[in-house]
Structure formats: structure tokens, C-alpha cells
Amino acid sequence: MQTVRSKFKTEPFLFHTFNYLFMLFVVVVTLYPFLNTLAISFNSGIDTTRGGIYVWPREWTLKNYEAVFLSGRVFDAFWVSVARTVIGTVVSVFLTAMLAYTISRKEYIFRKPVTLIFVLTMYFSAGLIPSYFLIKDLNLLNTFLVYILFPGAGAGLISAFNMLVVRTYIRSLPESLIESAKIDGASDFKVFMSIILPLCTPVLATIALFTAVGQWNSWFDTFIFASSRQELSTLQYELMKMLSSTVNSNANPSLSSTAAKDTATMITPLSIRAAITIVASVPILFVYPFLQRHFVAGLQLGSVKE
């Protein structure tokens, strides 16, 4: 009896101790690189090169951020990023919701072909070079519009995945709401605008987050389609240009010692990069915890098969 009871007590204790230690490990591994960058961004650049900066700055300074925001390029790129995120998200969420409503209607005669055309895009891509030629032929090279229209990673007007998430959500709403509105003479567009849209707020917040993250984090479309116009450069693209020059120096250490160090301003490429990294990630990191409940539910909806 005694042994049985003690077995029941020690097993959970050992397990939970191990489990919490493991979770602590996960949390540290997840947060450390980010906290390290945060510390470097607030530390004097020259001091950082001495090494030994982990999660707390040694010589506090705001110089790195000053340099970032005083540099016209980064400042302009920041606003281009904001503009594409706001415009791209608003347009895409509205159109995706409208499309999702139409394919949620069982009586809609083109429901299946329309759904299929979009779902296939999740797996099928015509490829980079043909897409480049299309964008070129449409005269969209080096225009802001390409950021909104090009169906790249997480961006584009419609994401098939988001469409399915909203469709599933609309189907979970009581059909009687729509039917009674229709008996009162409301058209499909009216039903969508005055009933579906307000009721879909939680799921729309979810896909807005997904779309905004895709837009904000996108660099490839700038690189391929708009790199020859500096005024269309985005924050991620500016960061990418800095990064590609430093990765090669990591693989080949002799190069990094020759990297420019501006002793007068105490700024190094590494500290500037850290500051831009923080500027480029903080907006999203402030938003996502508040939407957690919604996107967890949204992802689960998206995984439901038709």
C-alpha cells in the first residue's frame, strides 16, 4: 500500500519537474536571440564589438535608433511598409470575405469550380520567371500596385487558405439569419454587408493578422519587381540588403574585420542591423498576443475539411 501511494506521488512530481524545465528551455531558446538583438540595439556599437553582450546592454545608447531614423532610406522604407500593410490588408480582407460568402452559399451554381480554382493555387505555382514576365507585360514593374496584386508569399489579393477559414466560419452561423433577411427582400450583397461582415469580426481579425504579417514581412516582391526604385523599398528589403552583406562575412571572418566601423558615432553595421531588426519586428509582436484567442480558433477552422 505504502509503495503504491509513493509511486503515485513521485511519478507526477518527477514528470512535471522535467516538463517545466523543458518548457523553460523552450522559452529561453525562443526568446534569447530576440532579447540579445534588443540588447545590442541599445548598446553602443563599438562596445558591442568587444563581445559579452547577452540580454542586457552594457553601455546604453539611443544612437543606433537615431541613426536608423535619421537615415532617410530606412525612414521612407518604414512608411512604404506601413502603406502596403494597411492598404493590402484592408483590400484583401474585404475581397476574401466577399468571395468566402459566395462559396458558402450552397445554392450558388459556380460554388465548386470557384472553390477549386482558388484551392489549387495553394499547391500550384507557374513559377518565378513566367510570373516576372507577366508582371512586366502588365507594366506593373516598379509600381506600388505590385505589392497589392502579386500573389506571393502571404500576400496578394486573395489567399485561398484565408478564404477557406472565412467560408467555414460563415457556415457555422445560423442559416435562419440569412434566410429571414432574404425574405425581407435583402439581396446577397446586402446580406453580406449588413449581416455577414459584422458577425465575422473575430475571423476577419484573424485573417487580417495573417495578411498583415505577410505584407509586412515580405521582401521578395520588392527584390524581384521593384528593386530599381529606391522610393518603393520596404523595411524588410533594407534589412535584407544589410544582412546579405554580413552573412558572407560570417562565413569568411577575414571580411568582417574590414567592415566599416564609424568610431566617431560609435555605430557599427551590427548595431544598426539590430536596431532595424527591432523596428521591423516590434509592430507585429505588439499586436499578435491580443489576437491569440482568435487566430488559434481560426487555424482550427481552417483545418476542417469540406
Partner: protein, 322 residues
């Protein structure tokens, strides 16, 4: 007034609707059509339109002439592609990095979800989850930047920790040697997405019938037996469907961005994937035809693999994607 009659038809019984002609239904549903067709046209143009450019793969494309005025070479580009030793290596890298990322990704996400599920304090669990989602929201530009910093030989945390533990004597040039590259790609993918991927597994675990656990407990099953005999079989449909989806992405090589940013001259033989190959031939060398041929190969194989996985799952009576 007309609106009213329209909706009377709408609510008519199924039998009455079936006798209705196609065109009268089109007219009645004109609003649904107007609400969806602009987007259909958009996707046909932007996602399917570029298929036209696939013709380039069967030509010896020279810029400056229209696509209809090119010399046709049949399957020569494809033949060249498969004879090329470089492309064989590219293919090997792509498949290897995909498999490493796929397997590591599945095992770690399922494992983490199972362990998270054992945490009973809701507040702590929520906090750990929120933190674990963080890297998913960072862009690849930022993530690869963090990775290259962590792996740096000048005070990078990985080298510092390994030195402190006396596992190595001097810093290792992680990004300068090909043999480490595949592992770095796999672990970077895990770091970014493992927390995010637990969302679906945790939801699946939560939907397992609680009476099954009670029954297992009556039979004297401990914590690990319950996980093995109840939880894992319970979430099998979700695992299968996610595997099918991932099979369709096997030629993505575990992502484009990691190889693009972390690959460099020293590790080229290990880091180059199909996507990088296409980019190199298309935009740097200007051999569009060869780049398009490689792209077509990738798309066609992906669709075939997806179809096969889906069919096999159907045969085995598992959950299907399409």
C-alpha cells in the same frame, strides 16, 4: 417588386429548383456571380496566366523577341537539365532539406504539443504558448539574421555555450562548411514554426474523447501508455492530413529564404535548391528557358506527389485533403 418574386423562388422546394434552367439560375444568382467573378478573373490572370510562359521551356528563348518568334527546341532544355551534374546535386539538396525539415518539424511539434498538454495550469500554459508563437511572426529576413548571429564565430551564442561546456575547443565556422548546412536549415525551420505548429495538434488532442482516458486508467495505464495508446491514435487523422499537405511541398526544399540568405560560396554544393537554381538561371544568368524548365519540373512533380499521397490515404481509409 421584382426582388420579392426572386426570393420567393429562392426559398422554393428542391424539386422546383431543379426544373429551373441554367440561365435563369445564373440570372437569379447574378449578385453572387458579380461578387465572386472579379476575384476569379484576378486569380486566373495572376496565378494561372503565367502558365503561358511555360512555352519558354520548349524554346531557346532570346529576350527582345516575342514568345511566338522563338526557335523551338522540344524537350532539349529538360534533357540538358537532367544531364547536368549540377542539377542532380540541386535535386539532392532540395529533397534532403525537405525531408529533414519535414521529419524534424513533425516530431518536434507533436512532441511539444504532447508536453504542453500535460501542463495543467492554464495561465502558465497560455504564456508558454504565446512565447512559442513569437518566431512565426518574424520575417525570414529577421530569422536568418538572428540565426547567422547566433552561429557567428565572434561571440555567437552557440559557439559560446559549446565552449563553456567544453564540447569544442575553438569556435566552429557553422555557416562555412557544407556538412552542417542541412541540419541548420532543419533546426531553423523548427525554431521558427514549432510553436505555431502545435496549435493544430493541441486542438486535436483536446478533441480526443475523455472517456477513452478514463477507460485506459481503469486498465492501469500510466501517463506514457495513455499518450501512446489513446492520444496518438486519436490525433492520427490530423497527422495524416498534414503529411499529405506537406508532401505537395517536398520540392520546396524546406523553404527558399533560408538557403537564399544563409547559403554562400563555401556551402553552395549543399545549399542550392531548385528555387535558387531557377532564380540564378532566370535573373542572374539570363537563361530563362532552363529556369522555366526547372520550375515546370518542380510544379508537375509537386502536383503528382500530392495526388499520389491523397490517393494512398484514400486507399488506407484515412482522412483526405481533396
Amino acid at each position: 417588386m421584382t426582388q420579392h418574386t426572386v426570393h420567393k423562388v429562392d426559398l422554393a422546394p428542391q424539386s422546383a429548383r431543379r426544373t429551373e434552367s441554367f440561365w435563369s439560375r445564373v440570372i437569379r444568382q447574378r449578385q453572387l456571380i458579380l461578387m465572386s467573378f472579379p476575384m476569379v478573373l484576378y486569380v486566373l490572370l495572376f496565378a494561372y496566366g503565367p502558365i503561358w510562359g511555360w512555352l519558354m521551356a520548349f524554346q531557346n528563348y532570346k529576350p527582345g523577341f516575342s514568345i511566338t518568334d522563338q526557335t523551338w527546341v522540344g524537350f532539349d532544355q529538360f534533357r540538358f537539365l537532367f544531364m547536368d551534374e549540377g542539377f542532380t546535386r540541386v535535386l539532392r539538396n532540395t529533397i534532403a532539406m525537405s525531408f529533414i525539415s519535414l521529419i524534424l518539424g513533425f516530431v518536434t511539434a507533436i512532441g511539444l504539443a504532447l508536453l504542453m498538454n500535460e501542463i495543467k495550469k492554464t495561465g502558465i500554459k497560455r504564456l508558454i504558448q504565446t512565447i512559442s508563437y513569437l518566431p512565426h511572426f518574424l520575417s525570414w529576413v529577421i530569422v536568418t539574421g538572428l540565426v547567422s548571429m547566433a552561429l557567428s564565430t565572434e561571440g555567437g551564442i552557440i559557439n559560446v555555450v559549446l565552449m563553456k561546456l567544453h564540447l569544442i575547443d575553438k569556435p566552429i565556422l557553422w555557416l562555412g562548411e557544407g556538412k552542417y548546412f542541412w541540419g541548420i536549415v532543419g533546426l531553423t525551420n523548427v525554431w521558427k514554426e514549432v510553436g505555431w505548429n502545435t496549435i493544430i495538434y493541441l486542438a486535436a488532442i483536446a478533441s480526443v474523447d475523455p472517456s477513452l482516458y478514463e477507460a485506459a486508467e481503469v486498465d492501469g495505464a500510466g501517463r506514457f501508455r495513455k499518450i501512446w495508446n489513446v492520444t496518438l491514435p486519436g490525433i492520427r487523422p490530423v497527422i495524416v492530413i498534414l503529411l499529405i499537405m506537406n508532401v505537395g511541398w517536398i520540392l520546396n526544399g524546406g523553404g527558399f529564404d533560408i538557403q537564399y540568405f544563409l547559403g554562400n560560396g563555401q556551402v553552395l554544393d549543399w545549399s542550392e535548391t531548385i528555387d535558387i537554381f531557377v532564380l540564378k538561371y532566370g535573373l542572374r544568368i539570363g537563361n530563362y528557358s532552363l529556369g522555366v524548365a526547372a520550375g515546370i519540373f518542380k510544379t508537375v512533380v509537386s502536383i503528382v506527389l500530392l495526388y499520389c499521397a491523397n490517393t494512398i490515404a484514400k486507399r488506407l481509409g484515412e482522412e483526405r485533403l481533396i
